[in-house]
């Protein structure tokens, strides 16, 4: 066999007798030895590294760990309700606060707090006096 035939042959399957012949040829042929070494070096250079765990998780999330339909619907419903409440809250807050600018709001709050405090303390005084 020529080297070219040997090299092609080397990649295929061999009987034990052919394997012995191939090993004998390798001892005498630098070209085939180099080819063998390069094939092995390629194998070592191409040892796969780990696939990203996020990809594996993504596959499982779409297959084996896919949540049942009713759970997904429940999530959609709960999420939708929460979104509605938040929207309503934001809308309400917006409605309440838009008539004031910040300075007016601060003044208003301090005034009303003051009033509340006086009302409360005078009520407390009355309450204490009753007993």
């Amino acid at each position: 066999m020529t080297c070219k035939e040997w090299i092609k042959f080397e990649e295929g399957e061999k009987t034990s007798q052919q394997l012995a012949q191939w090993k004998a040829h390798l001892k005498t042929c630098a070209s085939c030895r180099e080819h063998e070494a390069l094939s092995q070096a390629i194998g070592q250079a191409l040892v796969p590294s780990a696939a990203p765990a996020t990809l594996v998780d993504a596959v499982f999330a779409k297959t084996t760990r896919k949540q049942p339909l009713w759970i997904r619907w429940k999530k959609v419903l709960v999420g939708g309700m929460a979104a509605l409440f938040i929207a309503a809250g934001v809308y309400g807050f917006h409605q309440r606060t838009t008539p004031f600018n910040q300075a007016e709001l601060v003044t208003y709050m301090s005034e009303s707090n003051q009033d509340d405090y006086y009302t409360f303390s005078s009520e407390l005084d009355l309450f204490e006096q009753e007993f």
Partner: protein, 192 residues
Amino acid sequence: MDTQNKSRSDDELVQLAANGENQAFEELVFRYKNALYQYLKALVQDEGAAGDLFQEVFLALFNHAADFKAQGKVKSWLFLTARNKAFNFLRDHKALTSLDQQDEEGNEIWHETLPDDSLPPLEQLTSCETAQRIRECINALPPAQRDVIYLRQYLSFKEIAQMLHKPLGTVLADGHRAIQKVRNSLTQGEIL
């Protein structure tokens, strides 16, 4: 994790997965995830696209496990599916003009005379630096040759030939030609 699944054959796992045994499917994913991801990345040379195709391959396996009849060919099926998806992706993104052209180019090179013993010998093939250079050389190969080099890491030439419906001799020749190209670019520093 079911340790029993680790010792099961691919065929057994697909059968179990088809019957709704989720851990059997997950074992198949663990068994081939690294090689498939590497293969897809090598073909499309884009991590994001490789990740998308990776998910598609395993989703296809999950959805078609029940129809799976080819005994002893789960691995080939996975790599063939990955290969088809990668080539479709490349075609859609105009990165690959035609597979036939790749074959044509390859065949042309095969008919050239192979390098003889006068080429400078390769030294220190196992060093890290060389491993890095080997990867660079392989990734610079035309897609069809890159394909056969990578496929050879996961499948035998016989399996590749069956998978691609090509004669064994053609696949061996493709593989040998690709290795010679790597050798030439390593020894001569030539840009492929």
